[in-house]
Amino acid sequence: MIELTNVHKRFGSNEVLKGITASVDKSEVVCIIGPSGSGKSTILRCINGLESYDAGDILVEGAKVDNKSPSIVAIRTQVSMVFQRFNLFPHRTALENVVEGPIYVKQEPRAEAFERGRALLAQVGLADKVDAHPAQLSGGQQQRVAIARALAMQPKAILFDEPTSALDPELVGEVLGVMRKLADDGMTMIVVTHEMGFAREVADRVLFIDGGVIVEQGGAKSVLDKPQHARTQDFLRRILHPL
């Protein structure tokens, strides 16, 4: 469903992606792990056109991602994104955040969009927070609103860019719980994360990225429990046993 072929991306003289080739099938959950600055987030940002890429191809259901072309809007409505820092619209309530895209981009009838928005907020456990503004919500609640906002677009896939990295540790679980439910329901997901527990239990596949290349990939358990490459082993050791 999402295919990357030899994707290169540079910021000035710094080449952050040095030929990424990967594909994600429908209903697959792929976790991308790796040290910071390795290019993990950049991959996600290229897939929905927040960044352009310099060489190679990215296809979403056969359509080439090109953020200079008007076709990018159609791709973005099919591939939603959830950000590390939530990026909710602070001047709108939780429900208004969720219905913004359906009403103003997809031109759905208001009543329908609001009804579905409420259902989505209930689905992420926030039925009682529909009228709250982001500032009145905890980080975990804000991130769940952001997930509901992504779901409201009825996307074919959702990209998660370190969705729990900005959260207090005790709030991580509620967000991962919602994501696990999505995975169980068959949502296609690409998740950049440092949550190895989540990757092991929920992901179908794990990609380990370092220095702009995929160093190792495979089934979640095999990569995380029996990493083959020295760099993967070293990274996992430092993540799992920081002391």
Binding site: S80, F83, L88, E100, A146, R149
Partner: protein, 217 residues
């Protein structure tokens, strides 16, 4: 004091005619400068090189010319090229253009204060540039922009007196005419100053209200 009150009663009706024109010039140029300022600011943040540079250049040119010279240019020079307008039109146009530079810088600061993450979030739900501006950026930028906007209103009210230099009979010019024909400088200019102050006070209170609202996020 009694003299002053007697003079006030005598001159007030003429000065009030001037107040009317002062209000017309101020409101007219406020509207024009707001629209132009918004256009310059949107051009500046459009991400399109040509528009952005054009806007930056224009703002520098406008900022670098004194208002009074701009007014002379519109009222005395343009007719030589076949573009004639009334003094009132020229004053509104001149002040509107002059202040559009300050409005634009204020609007741009407000727009750029909005977190980039929100703009990306808007893009990822499929919003284009204009819809992102309309639905996400501008509604939040307004709160940031309003207090300085109120200050610009006060400055415009006072600078509308420069229209007197191209024969618009607003408050300052009426005052000057009365003073030079009656030689009652003290009474007349005290009155004129008080009338400007009276018009400013509601604006000053408005700015204070905006500031309170902006700080109460």
């Amino acid at each position: 004091m009694q003299n002053f009150l007697r003079d006030a009663g005598e001159f007030m009706p003429i000065l009030l005619q001037g107040v009317w024109l002062t209000v017309v010039v101020t409101i007219g140029s406020l509207l024009l400068s707001t629209v132009l300022g918004l256009v310059w600011a949107l051009m500046r943040v459009s991400g399109i090189g040509v528009l952005s540079h054009l806007s930056a250049g224009l703002i520098n040119v406008i900022r670098g010319i004194p208002i009074i010279v701009l007014l002379f240019y519109l009222y005395f020079v343009l007719p030589e090229f076949g573009v004639a307008m009334t003094a009132l039109q020229a004053s509104i146009l001149g002040l509107g253009i002059a202040y559009s530079a300050y409005q634009s810088e204020n609007f741009r600061a407000g727009i750029e204060a909005i977190d980039k993450g929100q703009i990306e979030a808007a893009q990822t739900i499929g919003m284009g540039w204009w819809m992102t501006m309309r639905r996400v950026v501008l509604p939040q930028a307004v709160k940031i922009v309003l207090p300085p906007y109120g200050n610009i209103m006060i400055m415009m009210l006072k600078d509308s007196s420069q229209a007197s230099t191209i024969t618009v009979a607003e408050l300052a010019l009426q005052g000057k005419l009365i003073a030079s024909s009656t030689f009652k400088n003290t009474s007349v200019f005290t009155l004129v100053a008080l009338m400007y102050l009276t018009m400013s006070i509601p604006l000053i209170l408005l700015v204070r209200h905006f500031e309170k609202k902006a700080s109460r996020k």
